[in-house]
Every structure is written in structure tokens, then in C-alpha cells.
Symmetry: C2
Subunit: 449 residues, 2 copies
């Protein structure tokens, strides 16, 4: 049998663990792996030592070159920013190739459903961590409860990409960027929708980071969760119409949200307009531009007063640590508030070489079984090794790699535009993830009083 050819488009940070997995399995699986990007970072190129991967420097937007590569492979993994997936999907459709991504299914992707189905192809999306492992691990429990005739009454789920505890740093946020910083800065914009005890609830962005839930996870301590954008769409995706509570959220360490809310309240996360005279702006002036004019008062006091914060309290302390009051130049020539904030935060919020990140995923299922109220807590915690071998890169990349293997081997036979919510897809992926050390730990409680 001829060897199978895998094409990866895009070699950003999150591709590292995927490439490593593919290289490691290439011998056994008889794979030929090609990865394409305009430039490769040194740490990605260091994977050359493992063999089996061809690194091709090429502009993804060059359609002749891209289509030549797609035509000659068996499956495409797109690690490109989500805006590029439509272009790649159309190429794959034309060439009759399967495709895997870690991104949310866009409307454009969804519109290809019939055609993908007709050609007998599989475009598997949302197959990373969140979205990805969250879908798979949730549906495994939801399906098993259905099999046991249990009635699911509430489902809450939270995921966070955080810092591992005991890093040397005195970072009071207990947070750094381990994921696309722009997405972190813009997180929560728009309205949040969920259902609680049968009532639809809506939270505007300006209140989101103050309506947090305290969450305690045995062995890992205290967290706080804020709600993700639209939990309601999961009523249909997970087949949960009639459930009383459905809430999806993001985990942070306690105190993060109230401090982040400072940026939200003053308007520093706005991405809708360009600020004036950015070239001469300091961090301090950036903050001051959102505050009352009053030249005789300090920026610190004006901010604390504006938002009702203690001048020496934890929120002001976190802002100081991040250098927001310094007279350092921002270092951009133009930008929206969100772009400028991201640029300032990157100066302090970038992992040091020896810093380790941590992924925490936590599901809570309430259900009735044989007349009794019961509860399952399901937890996944993964810790990174260093700034490249992050828990984030592994938990995004490994599900993609495993899914690719299962599709190439014919163990996943489904066709169409899919996300990993069917047992045929999630069972073998979760099994292999478990063997690799990424396993959900379940705890069932009888909550009947």
C-alpha cells in the first residue's frame, strides 16, 4: 500500500505539538507529511530532527502552488486563521480531499455541507481543545446518561488556558497569553446568552466580567468562570432542547475578571476605531485618554475613583504590575484600543522559556437517575513542559493529529461537514488522548438530600 500524504497549512505556535505527533507516528503509519507556511520559527524547524516532515516555504495565498499541494495529498489539516478555511475548503472540495480544522464551523463552511456529503468527503472542524475536547468529553457523558435513561437537567462547562501554579514569577494575574492574544483581548465582546432553570438570560459585555461563578476543583484549587458568548446554540448542537440549565464559560484564577473588567469599563478593549496620535502615546497616556480631564490629579487616582477601586487594592496592583501606568512608549504607530492594549500586555504577558502553562476543563452534569438527583463532575487538567511544549499546543494539536490518523485508517467513516459529537469520532480520539495522558477524571455524587 502506498504511503499516505498529509498536508498541514500554517505552522504557527499551535502547530508544534501536531507536527511532533505526526512526525513521531510517520514510520508506523507510513505517512509523508508536508507543512506549508511563509516563514517557520526556529522552534518549529527544530522538529526537522525527527525526520518525516518536509517544510515548504510558500505563500498560502498563491493558489496555483496551494492547489498543487492539495491535489497531491490525501488529507489537509488547516491551522490557518479561521478566515482562510473557506478558501481551503473549496480547494479540498474541488480536489476531493478530506479536511480537518480546530476552528468553529463558519456559515461559509456550513453552506458546503451538501456538496461535501455528495462527494463522500469529511470536513471535520472544532477538533482541538475548545472547541474540540470539550465537545467530545461532554458528549461522551451525555450519550452515556441517555443510554442509562437518566434525565440531564443541567450542564455547565468551563475551560481555561492558564499558568501552571508555582511559576517563579510574582505575576498577580496568574495569567499570560498561551493562546491568540487578540482573541483574549476581545473575549466576551457581544452579548452572552444562556438558560438557567428554564429562563433565558442575557449579559451585556459591560457586565460580563462582574457576573462570574466561583468554581473549586479538587486538587487544583479555586477558579472563577465567566460565560461564553452563546450557550443557547448548544441546545441543538448537543441535542439538549428541554434542559433547564446550559452554561458554557471560561476559567480564570480568582480576581482576574474584576481586574480585566477595568479594561472593559474604560473602553480599552474596543476594536472599532483608531486612536489619535498613537506614535507619541505612552502606556500611561493610553489609560488617561479614557479618563476625565483633570491635570492636577494622577492617572492612578482618577482611574481608581472612576471605577470605585481601592488605590492599593488588587485590581490597581495588577494594572501596575502590567506596566499600564508607565511612561514607556506603546511602540505602535497606529491602532485601535484593543490593538494597543494587546501590544502593552504582550510585554509582560509572554511566557518565559521556563514557564509552564496549564489547561483546565471542568464539566458539571446534573441528572435524575431512577428518581434520584445525581451529579457528575468531569475534569481534565494538563500542564505544559516549557514555552513551546505547552499544554495548549498539545491539547489543540493532538486531537487534530489523532483525528487525521483515524480518517486515513478508515476508522472514522462519517462524511459531511462535522464536529466531533458522534461516538464514532469521539470515542477513539478520547481513548488515544487518554493513553497520551490527557484523560477526563469523573466523580459522581448523589446530591439527593
Amino acid at each position: 500500500m502506498a504511503s499516505k500524504k498529509i498536508l498541514i497549512l500554517g505552522a504557527g505556535k499551535s502547530s508544534y505539538s501536531l507536527l511532533k505527533y505526526l512526525a513521531t507516528n510517520s514510520n508506523d503509519q507510513d505517512w509523508e507529511v508536508k507543512v506549508v507556511d511563509r516563514i517557520f520559527s526556529d522552534h518549529v524547524l527544530s522538529l526537522k530532527a525527527l525526520g518525516h516532515i518536509e517544510f515548504i516555504e510558500s505563500n498560502i495565498q498563491d493558489s496555483i502552488n496551494r492547489n498543487n499541494l492539495i491535489n497531491s495529498c490525501d488529507i489537509v489539516i488547516s491551522m490557518l486563521p479561521s478566515g482562510f478555511h473557506e478558501m481551503v475548503a473549496k480547494d479540498c472540495l474541488r480536489a476531493g480531499k478530506n479536511m480537518v480544522t480546530a476552528s468553529y464551523v463558519s456559515n461559509e463552511m456550513r453552506s458546503l455541507t451538501d456538496e461535501v456529503q455528495r462527494k463522500g468527503l469529511l470536513f471535520l472542524n472544532e477538533c482541538g481543545l475548545d472547541p474540540g475536547i470539550d465537545h467530545m468529553s461532554a458528549m461522551q457523558v451525555i450519550d452515556s446518561l441517555r443510554e442509562k435513561d437518566s434525565e440531564l437537567t443541567a450542564f455547565e462547562t468551563f475551560t481555561g488556558g492558564l499558568l501552571a501554579p508555582n511559576n517563579e514569577d510574582d505575576n498577580p494575574w496568574e495569567y499570560k497569553f498561551t493562546w491568540n492574544p487578540r482573541n483574549v483581548v476581545l473575549a466576551g465582546t457581544g452579548v452572552v446568552k444562556f438558560i438557567q432553570e428554564g429562563r433565558y438570560k442575557y449579559i451585556p459585555y459591560s457586565r460580563l466580567f462582574r457576573r462570574t461563578e466561583p468554581i473549586f476543583i479538587q486538587g487544583y484549587g479555586h477558579f472563577e468562570g465567566y460565560a461564553n458568548r452563546d450557550s443557547l446554540k448548544y441546545l441543538d448542537i448537543y441535542g439538549l432542547r428541554g434542559i433547564k440549565t446550559l452554561y458554557r464559560g471560561t476559567l480564570r484564577r480568582p480576581g482576574f475578571c474584576k481586574s480585566w473588567d477595568v479594561f472593559v469599563q474604560i473602553g480599552a478593549t474596543d476594536d472599532s476605531y483608531e486612536m489619535e496620535d498613537v506614535a507619541h502615546m505612552t502606556h500611561r497616556q493610553f489609560i488617561n485618554s479614557f479618563l476625565f480631564f483633570n491635570p492636577s490629579d494622577s492617572v492612578e487616582l482618577k482611574l481608581a475613583h472612576y471605577l470605585g477601586l481601592d488605590l492599593d487594592g488588587p485590581e490597581m496592583n495588577r494594572l501596575k504590575w502590567s506596566g499600564l501606568f508607565s511612561e514607556e512608549l506603546v511602540g505602535l504607530n497606529s491602532g485601535t484600543p484593543a490593538q494597543i492594549l494587546e501590544h502593552i500586555l504582550r510585554k509582560k504577558w509572554t511566557l518565559h522559556p521556563d514557564e509552564r502553562d496549564m489547561i483546565v476543563m471542568w464539566h458539571k452534569f446534573n441528572f435524575k437517575h431512577e428518581g434520584r438527583d445525581r451529579e457528575i463532575h468531569s475534569t481534565l487538567v494538563a500542564t505544559g513542559e516549557d514555552e513551546y511544549n505547552t499544554a495548549m499546543a498539545k491539547t489543540v494539536g493532538l486531537p487534530l493529529g489523532i483525528a487525521t490518523k483515524l480518517i486515513l485508517n478508515g476508522e472514522i467513516k462519517m462524511t459531511g461537514v462535522r464536529i466531533p459529537i458522534s461516538s464514532e469520532i469521539y470515542t477513539p480520539i478520547l481513548n488515544e488522548l487518554g493513553k497520551l495522558g490527557f484523560e477526563m477524571h469523573e466523580r459522581e455524587i448523589d446530591t439527593e438530600t
Copy 2:
């Protein structure tokens, strides 16, 4: 000389005073006036008694009919919603007709500048109240200061469409809809930008209604002002680059903004998503959908606690007066929060037949003249007669009517896509407005200490 033919497109509320002005002047000016809309309200049709106006029931979107009407007139006044102006402008360009509107110049309208100029036509926009009289009255002062070699250092301007004092009603908002209710509900969304003492300042929507300015106008009492969207663009429009302070705002009676802010804070003015199950929603449930789930507490207490309001304080009192806590059905089958809020507020915020509205415009100019700091306050106050002869309809309609007359008589000779900021346009319009009783009152103060 043949009589001049004026075509008015759209006969909504704000057309009433315009039509009345045109009918009244038709004899002297030898005008033939046609007004087109799909339907006419009884109060607009009552203007038939004045003669000189032909009411044509026709769909504006019917392009053959519309172009026939445009071809056979001398000037077009578009009172249509601003989204229609581009269509009408292109027709006018083709037919070689002048055009007048009270709407902001859109990018589409601006893109026609060269062609309008080339054909020797005038498309005069922003010629109502705000935008309109605000431009004219401000530029009159700004130009006169320039002529006297005075240096303008600060310009602040506020306009409000309010209720006249001493209405019978106990309305604690001292406010009702006298303008497009949808625009009132969405006012302030997006970011606010201005310049104060040489510093650029930005206010996000979620803080806008708490950063108000107290304003006292002699003879009319206390008001509060909140900032309009983008004051910075007037640096160029008014030719004020280098000015230290430029701030444009909206006037309300004291306490309005803090109460309106309740809607902003809970997310009730969001227009970006459709709410669930609106057909069965009561006013009270509408408010509750933005609050914590806690069935044992009242909606009132949850709201007061959420926003830190006194349960019997003025904000809660205004909400109660507007029926926000009632168990009355909203009465819509679907809608965004903003649409639902507008629908609820219309029940109480619609003028009664004998209620009178009031327009207040207030400019403050700070300048240096011969080395001394001086200040001019310029004020226009207009009171309506009844629910149809509103101050709003007059101050929007009369400038349009006067401009139309001046263009037809050749007294305004400018061409191009314009707004009324040149003396050739504003001087004769302000003169006639003054004769009709709409005059700015100026007060100059020496502020040198």
C-alpha cells in the same frame, strides 16, 4: 416666468411644518408642490385646506414613477429615512435636479461630490435642526470671531428635543419621544470621541450616560448633557484644527441620564440579537431576563442591587412610571432588546394631544480677544404648539423650506454636495428663521479674572 415645482419625498411626522411652510409661501413664490408617500396621516392630509399641495399616494421604491416625478420638478426635498437618499441622489443627478435633506452626509452621498459639482447642481444636506441649525448658528459665531481676529480656544455645543415644562403629566423623566424613537433608544452606541484641553478623550457606551455635564441655561433652568458620538470630525468640518476643546452633546433634564443608564447597563438597548420567546414576554420578564436567576427575590430588588440603586430612588421611580415592572405583555412576536424596549417605552413616551415639546440648543464659545479671555453663550429655545405642530417638526422643517426657497430664487448659488456651513447659505436661512421666531440669543462674558 413659469411657476417652480417642488417635490417632497416622504410625509412622515417631521414633514408637517415643512409642508405647511411651502403651502403658505406658494402663492407669493408661485410654487407647485407635490408630496409623495405610500400613505398619508390625517394630520398631514389636513394641510389640504391650505391649498397648493398635491398629495400623491405612490410607492417611493417604484422607480419609473419616482423618476417621472423627479424629471418634472425643479427641486427635490427628501424626507425619507437616510438609507434612501443615495437612490434619490442618483436619480437627481441623472435628471439634473437640486436636492435638499436634513440627514447626515453618508459616504455614498459624499462619493457623488465631483459629479454633482460638474453638473452644476447643489445637494444640500444636514439642513434641519441637528444637524442643521446647529451648524449654521455655530459657524455664524465662529466666522464672526475669525473676522475680529479672536482666537477660539473651546467650543461646546448641546442640543436636546425635550418636553416643555409645566405639562400636566407627572412624567418623572421630563421626556417623551419627539423624534425617531429608535434613534433615541440607540443613541450613544459606539464610542464617543472628543478633545479637551488638547487631550483626545474616549468614552465607551457603557460609561457615556454617567459622564454627563451639568448645564444651566438662564431662563430655562438646569439640564445635563452627554457627549455625541464623534466630535473630532468637526475639527475639519468647522475648520477648527488646533482648538483645545471641542465637545458636541445632547441635552436632557437632570436625572434622565442616570436612569437611562439602567437600560444601558443591563443590556436592554442592544440591537444585535433577537431575544427568545418574545410572544409570551411581559415587561417584567424583559427586565428579569437581564438579571441574576434568583426566583425568591423580586425583579425590583434584583435590579436595584445589581446596579447599586436605591429601591425607592429616582431611577427606580422612573422605571416604575414607565411600566417596566408590569406584567403586561410586550405585544411583539419577536425583537431585539432595543426593539422591545422601544415598544414598551412608546406606551408611555408618546405625546398626548395637548402636550408640547421643546427644543433647546446651547453653544459655548471660549476665545481670546485682544489678549482677554472671553466667552459667548448662544441659546435657542423653541416650544411646540401641540402634538403635530411640535418645535421639533418646525426646527427640522423650516430650514429645509427656507433653503429650498433660497435655492429656487437663486440666492444660494453654491454647487456640490454641501452642508450649511458657508455664510452664503446660513446667513439668509438664519435671518428668515429669526423672523419666524427661531432666533439664537447671545450673551458675551468677559471671563478674565
